[in-house]
């Protein structure tokens, strides 16, 4: 408990202050309390747990895909089931697992790392979670009532249009997108406001932890990318339900336009998943090589540059549509450029590891796994960026291999590393390191066994999204290996779950800072109190916890009897004013319900847009209605 040392006052006042803090930040008990909770730790955990459940769901779908493809002419799944399953798998993994998981981690970690007590808009945060949950339930309601979408995770029209996909399947998909994008935009705006305005005093731009930088960039990408998918999914929905002609070629619409708009989102989307993972890696590497990260400015510049460049490459998903050559050359060049920014980061991490004093924790194992897998996946990305090569491997298992390498290697491995790294913070107990390393090796071997053969399958002409193939094609070996590998990955998943459950109850007590790490979250208790810090910390260095204890500085003067936090200036993080955050509230949930009624209803009857808007409007009024008596005292 470092931070309590320098407090001048008597222990009596001290205790009173703590009680006040406890009172004003605690969530009311009971069901209502649970539903109205707005603290970032709780909401973050809800995101993480829900998203993890969808990882399992998506994983089970993946196993079904692999079982079907294990043997030629397999009849385990028919074409309709297979198409539903791969669509649900891709959709679940991208929209219900990866993005929300990254957001949940950020909702949990960012306020702690910045040294504040909650995100800037706690109720919006809760609202975002409920909307995400509603969207996820909506999609799986479809899955369990035999209306699972079946047009692929990017649902190209005309196949996904009213003429070729009758029924409600694609509507479930498109509306689920609306839900998750609303949720993502809520988190993005609150993270931007939090990172800009609620950093610890002294945490000027050049002292922000790299993880927070990556979340800042990711949030901006969400802000600018999600509107595109909003438009793409609305094109589909309105063409399907109210008969517009946005993507209907017969009436002047254009199916290629949908592809442009979708990938204008879709490409940034993959970096939205990937960039937070870079932040995890930086944190883990810093803590476990026990030295300052090498090349902080270069890292920040690369992350920011990645964010910008990512908006200029979408066409590389459309090379086979036959674009003018000059355009192709541009998009090849732009796609390759992003290898430089990734390369710089890889080099900086290697440099840090090179000169550090490594501590081979399980988390660091995952970082090494990340480097191996991601670099390979990134290099196949460079192959795909070349138009001439892409027209051969596009829409084959080569691409499937590429994106699982970058998604699993680039995002999932760091995520697992992050679980091992921050589990002690979240639960107060360490995870078992030996099991963790075993977990790593199982996943690493299983992963490569599953996805490496897919490169070869792709070159041998195996197109993606086929529910079966003939035995004369020569694809058996690769496929059977991939299926075995997938089950090894699943075994790794089981080991992970066991480790979680055992460590949660019986793990070694961690203490505040088991890794002797550098950033503020490790100054809070493990698990953190609902107010995070008794006295908000001040950043006196880029690595504030590596500063000698006697030189650490804290903030006093915030009121403890209400949810007060400190707002600082954008660039230099100088204290600017105090801010009272709202308490627990049911309105986020009620508003989310109103929105859900509108969204879901409109799939079946367009008038629900109006009903939903009116209900939502009313709920917002309730949300913003001044609480009486109005508190005007400073």
């Amino acid at each position: 408990m470092n931070q309590t040392e320098p407090i001048p006052n008597s222990s009596e006042r001290e205790a009173q202050a703590l009680r006040d803090l406890e009172n004003s930040w605690q969530t009311p008990r009971g069901m209502i309390g649970w539903l109205s909770c707005t603290t970032h730790q709780a909401i973050g955990m809800r995101y993480i747990v829900t998203a993890f459940i969808f990882l399992l769901a998506g994983g089970i779908e993946a196993l079904l895909i692999r079982l079907q493809l294990a043997l030629p002419n397999n009849t385990l799944l028919g074409p309709d089931r297979y198409n539903e399953i791969f669509t649900t798998h891709g959709t679940t993994m991208m929209f219900l697992f990866a993005v929300p998981m990254m957001e949940g981690m950020a909702v949990y970690l960012v306020p702690l790392m910045l040294g504040t007590r909650n995100v800037a808009f706690p109720r919006l945060n809760a609202f975002g979670y409920w909307i995400y949950l509603a969207g996820a339930i909506f999609l799986y309601w479809g899955v369990f009532t035999n209306t699972a979408p079946d047009a692929g995770w990017f649902s190209y029209p005309p196949l996904s249009g009213p003429a070729y996909s009758p029924g409600k399947r694609v509507d479930f998909w498109a509306q689920m997108i609306t839900f998750t994008e609303v949720s993502a935009m809520c988190v993005a705006s609150e993270l931007i406001a939090t990172i800009f305005k609620m950093r610890a005093p002294g945490m000027s731009l050049n002292r922000i932890p790299l993880y927070c930088w990556s979340m800042l960039v990711q949030s901006f990408m969400v802000i600018f990318a999600m509107p595109a998918v909003m438009i793409a999914s609305s094109y589909l929905l309105s063409d399907r339900t109210v008969g517009t002609h946005f993507v209907n070629p017969a009436e002047g619409g254009d199916p290629l336009l949908y592809q442009h708009v979708f990938w204008l989102f879709g490409h940034p989307e993959v970096y939205i998943i990937f960039i937070p993972a870079l932040g995890f890696v930086s944190s883990i590497v810093t803590a476990n090589s026990r030295r300052e990260i090498f090349g902080y400015p270069g890292m920040v510049l690369s992350i920011v540059a990645t964010g910008f460049i990512a908006f200029g490459l979408w066409v590389h998903h459309m090379f086979a549509t036959g674009l003018p050559q000059i355009g192709e050359a541009y998009f090849t060049a732009a796609s390759m450029m992003i290898a430089v920014t990734s390369g710089v980061q890889i080099f900086c991490w290697i440099a840090t590891l090179w000169t550090g004093r490594l501590r081979m924790t399980a988390a660091l194992h995952f970082v090494f796994g990340f480097i191996a897998i991601f670099v390979l996946g990134g290099l196949t990305g460079v192959i795909l960026a070349s138009v001439s090569l892409d027209v051969q491997v596009h829409d084959t298992f080569f691409v499937v291999a590429h994106f699982h390498y970058v998604l699993i290697g680039g995002a999932l491995f760091p995520l697992f590393g992050a679980f091992y790294h921050w589990f002690p913070k979240i639960t107060g107990r360490l995870m078992n390191e030996a099991v963790g390393k075993l977990n790593f090796w199982i996943l690493f071997i299983g992963f490569n066994l599953t996805f490496f053969p897919m490169h070869i399958l792709g070159l041998k002409g195996m197109t993606r999204r086929i529910y079966t193939y003939g035995s004369e094609m020569g694809w058996e070996l690769g496929n059977i290996l991939a299926t075995i590998g997938a089950f090894i990955i699943a075994a790794g998943g089981v080991v992970f779950l066991i480790n979680i459950f055992l460590s949660r109850n019986r793990g070694e007590i961690a203490g505040d800072n088991p890794w002797d790490a550098d950033s503020f979250e490790w100054a809070a208790a493990s698990p953190p109190k609902s107010y995070n810090f008794e006295y908000l910390p001040v950043a006196t260095s880029r690595y504030p916890l590596w500063v000698a204890a006697s030189e650490r500085t804290f903030v006093t003067g915030l009121r403890n009897d209400r949810r007060e936090v400190l707002v600082t200036t954008l660039m230099d993080a100088e204290p600017h004013h105090r801010l009272v955050l709202p308490r627990s509230s049911l309105w986020p949930l009620l508003t989310a319900l109103a929105v859900t009624i509108g969204f879901i209803g409109s799939v079946f009857n367009a008038w629900y847009i109006t009903y939903g808007s009116i209900l939502t409007g009313l709920a917002f009024v309730g949300w913003f209605w001044p609480r009486l008596p109005v508190e005007t005292k400073p």
């Binding site: 808009f121 005093p201 009436e251 619409g253 254009d254 336009l257 001044p626």
Partner: protein, 204 residues
């Protein structure tokens, strides 16, 4: 040692009505989202327009330009009402807020009535063809935002009128004006696109 290591922030204001407020940034994010959305839609409009020879498609009349052009006047003026209210909010001037918001609400309503009249006179709807889909989407989306923010302003107006408000609500007035400026500003390019767009790109 002890006092050295503490920063006391007791003297700081317990709230702030300016761009220093996190809420202001949140509102800027929402504006950025909407602006991106409309920009993409406008780009899409031209993409579709340029991929065919005849525009608007046979049968669609050119939208009128007179009424929508006149309507710009009350719209732009309403932004001044909004500005007035937000300045008054910073100074905690209740009358100023009420007058500013009142002006905003009245002018905004005038504009909206004019829009409805013009909208009504279109001889195509969203189901007619792609041009119809776009024009209706622009009008629909913008009207949605418009009505939502107008309703929000009206609610704020009554809260302020009731007198039971604090910094939070004043900040609300300030931030509401940010959104209103955006809604006014974004209409101008949309107006150009849907009323002048067909004429401009048509003559090749």
């Amino acid at each position: 040692m002890i006092t050295q290591n503490m920063i006391n922030v007791e003297h700081l204001e317990p709230s702030d009505i300016s761009s220093q407020s996190p809420l202001w940034w949140g509102q800027v994010c929402i504006v950025a989202i909407e602006a991106t959305m409309f920009s993409i839609l406008m780009a899409a409009y031209f993409y579709v327009r340029l991929s065919v020879d005849v525009w608007p498609p046979a049968g669609d009349q050119f939208p009128h330009t007179l009424l929508p052009s006149i309507a710009l006047l009350p719209l732009i003026l309403s932004a001044f009402g909004s500005y007035w209210a937000s300045q008054a909010a910073k100074k905690n001037d209740r009358t100023g807020m009420l007058l500013g918001m009142g002006l905003n609400i009245i002018l905004a309503t005038v504009f909206f009535v004019m829009r409805i009249i013009e909208w009504h006179s279109l001889n195509f709807n969203w189901q007619t063809d792609a041009q119809g889909s776009y024009v209706w989407a622009f009008l629909g989306l913008h009207s949605f935002d418009y009505v939502a923010d107008l309703a929000f302003t009206i609610v704020l107006f009554f809260i302020v009128l009731s007198g039971r408000y604090a910094e939070k609500q004043r900040l609300g007035v300030h931030v509401d004006s940010v959104v209103w400026y955006f809604i006014v500003a974004i209409w101008i390019p949309i107006y150009v696109v849907i009323y002048w767009g067909p004429q401009i790109v048509e003559t090749q």
